[in-house]
């Protein structure tokens, strides 16, 4: 397929404005005028429509097919949330309105959405208050790490280190380091969860926090999580809950009740708002009572008459971390989703997410290595070690799945499993879809025995075949205009 620039024909136009017959001097100062015309593609409107329609047909998303990308919770995004979020009353709001004198009365509906989403997340997570501002999961982690630092600074604690298990999301150590902390990795034990004895060895007065994903990236819930929280609290360290895997726990247990002090929630995962190529995320951060003073400004507060306003007078706050109030439309979609499902619906989400993951795991465990075989939560990790002996690696299996109409699972993560394939089906997939995927995986496992070369040449059905990722990384050739 040609680039849109290659389709350009000089002089061709999609739209021609009327000729300018007014003899008025140009009012744009000369130093702001271009020396030469912008190098834009010149096409008819139909050319443009066909170009982008063709591109969209080559895309793959949840609306196209099964997307079991582990730890990304690629569940279906209900279209009703799109429709409501496009209501003119939301779309045409100006974000500065609530900051003008009296302006907050013009945006009570939007403030109510932010306020009520905060209240629902408090109930779901067992936390005392949320900031809705963080724009993504990792942004939530950074916000949380800054709140941790502010808490310790306020108490005069001398803390240097954040402890993170070796199965964590890569963003955890990055967020902790960006906030100025040293990162110490804690290994996993033989059952795939954080080794509590190894944790005890590194737990001391210098520890500012423990950051945990729960269930972890192997889809395993740490049965000793309460002990871990207590060990941290005994040295006045805080415990941070990375909510990437919250889909497994919805309505079943609450991080705040377990003992977590901070939590971020990936609205774009657990609460079904579009992500990946489909839209921006949102990573609201919830805190326990003693951390409320450090939340970012502003926070939504309510007056005795039931109306809402933005409170900027927060002397201990870590300050601004996002423009305005976060990704409002994303929060709005999560709000609609939560109201639509209700308590019963959210409980069924986690129930079916866990059931689907265990169903696929049990069907595949005879065909692939399964390093940790216990009942999993919302996802599980297979190893292609057995297939690798025949020259078929996790990457080859991922590419073969593309030819069979599936998005590949997450591969080579977590790093503690060789040839890892991390599969998260989510609750929105039917048994028929899961069975089709299982059949494809079994067929691939059999091909890895009988005809491995067949797999190392995949994908064959896509516009481009196997790309040279190594060359692309070593010698990046980024398309850019001269």
């Amino acid at each position: 397929m040609k680039l849109i620039f290659e389709k350009s024909v000089p002089g061709r136009r999609a739209y021609r404005p009327a000729d300018n017959d007014i003899d008025a001097p140009a009012r744009i100062p000369k130093n702001f005028l271009r020396d030469r015309p912008a190098d834009l593609p010149e096409l008819s409107e139909l050319d443009v429509v066909r170009h982008f329609t063709e591109l969209s047909n080559r895309n793959f998303g949840v609306d196209t097919g099964f997307y079991p990308l582990g730890s990304c919770t690629m569940k279906y995004n209900p279209k009703v949330t799109e429709r409501i979020s496009h209501y003119p009353g939301f779309v045409h709001l100006h974000p500065l309105l609530p900051q003008l004198p009296g302006g907050e009365m013009l945006v009570q509906g939007a403030l109510a959405v932010l306020h009520d989403t905060d209240m629902m997340l408090r109930e779901i997570c067992g936390m005392a208050a949320f900031t809705m501002q963080p724009l993504a999961g990792a942004h939530g982690e950074l916000t949380g790490s800054m709140i941790i630092a502010a808490y310790h600074a306020d108490k005069g604690n001398d803390k240097t280190t954040i402890l993170i298990p070796d199965s964590s999301h890569g963003t955890n150590p990055a967020s902790a380091a960006t906030a100025g902390y040293d990162v110490q990795t804690v290994p996993s034990d033989d059952t795939g969860v954080m080794d509590i004895d190894a944790l005890a060895e590194v737990m001391n007065d210098k520890v500012a926090a423990v950051m945990l994903t729960c269930p972890n990236t192997l889809g395993l819930f740490n049965p000793r999580i309460k002990e871990i929280c207590k060990m941290a609290h005994d040295v006045d360290a805080l415990v941070y809950y990375d909510g990437a895997n919250l889909n497994a726990l919805l309505g079943r247990c609450r991080p705040g009740d377990i003992g977590f002090d901070l939590v971020h929630v990936n609205l774009h995962k657990t609460f079904a708002t579009p992500h990946g190529g489909g839209g921006p995320g949102a990573g609201p951060v919830g805190v326990c009572e003693k951390l409320i003073p450090f939340l970012p400004t502003s926070v939504i507060a309510d007056k005795p008459d039931g109306s809402y306003w933005l409170d900027y007078d927060r002397p201990k706050s870590i300050g601004y971390i996002a423009p305005f109030y976060g990704n409002f439309a994303v929060i709005l979609k999560a709000y609609i989703y939560t109201l639509m499902l209700g308590t019963d619906g959210l409980e069924r989400v986690s129930e079916n997410a866990v059931l689907n993951a265990n169903y696929v795991k049990e069907k595949l465990k005879a065909h692939f290595d399964l390093p940790f075989g216990q009942t999993c939560k919302h996802e599980f990790v297979l190893s292609a070690s057995r297939q690798a002996k025949n020259g078929v690696r996790a990457l080859d299996i991922a590419k073969a799945l593309i030819d069979r109409g599936f998005h590949p699972p997450t591969v080579y993560f977590p790093l503690i499993v060789h040839e890892a394939m991390m599969i998260e089906p989510t609750e929105t997939e039917s048994k028929e879809t899961l069975d089709t995927f299982i059949a494809a995986m079994i067929e691939i496992a059999e091909l890895a025995q009988s005809n491995p070369e067949e797999l190392t040449g995949c994908p064959r059905t896509t516009p481009v075949g196997r790309l040279d990722e190594t060359l692309a990384a070593r010698k990046p050739d980024l398309a850019s205009l001269e």
Partner: protein, 129 residues
């Protein structure tokens, strides 16, 4: 098989003692696990390194990991050829793919590393995952 004359760290670096100088690289197992390496960051000559802490970063198409120094001391030589031709890591892990040479005081760090036998047993245990 791993070379018998070298010593090994749990994070898969090898070390070779030659007088007071220790040559450091990563094992063939580590190179195999990483796959094609696309980025390598090594320290400059004159920097000091500490046993068990990172001296550089290696990034492949699969993962980015710290390179941990098996010994403490001062970097006296860096393999610039390797940063030019990173494929050496998979081809000649214990030879031309050495990374840094470190001037050490004493050999306590070196002696506490695993022997070739111990490292092979360690790899077998790792393989189970």
């Amino acid at each position: 098989m791993v070379p018998a004359e070298l010593r090994y760290a749990k994070s898969h670096e090898w070390a070779k003692m030659d007088g007071g100088t220790v040559t450091v690289g990563i094992t063939a197992f580590a190179a195999e696990q990483l796959g094609d390496v696309v980025f390598l960051e090594l320290p400059a000559v004159g920097e000091s390194v500490e046993a068990g802490t990172p001296f550089g970063v290696v990034e492949s198409v699969k993962a980015a990991v710290d390179l941990n120094s098996p010994v403490s001391g001062e970097v006296i030589e860096v393999n610039d050829d390797l940063t030019e031709d990173m494929e050496l890591l998979g081809k000649d892990s214990y030879g031309s793919a050495w990374m840094i040479k470190v001037k050490t005081a004493g050999d306590a760090d070196f002696q506490s590393l695993m022997s070739a036998d111990e490292y092979e047993k360690f790899l077998e245990a790792e393989e189970k995952h």
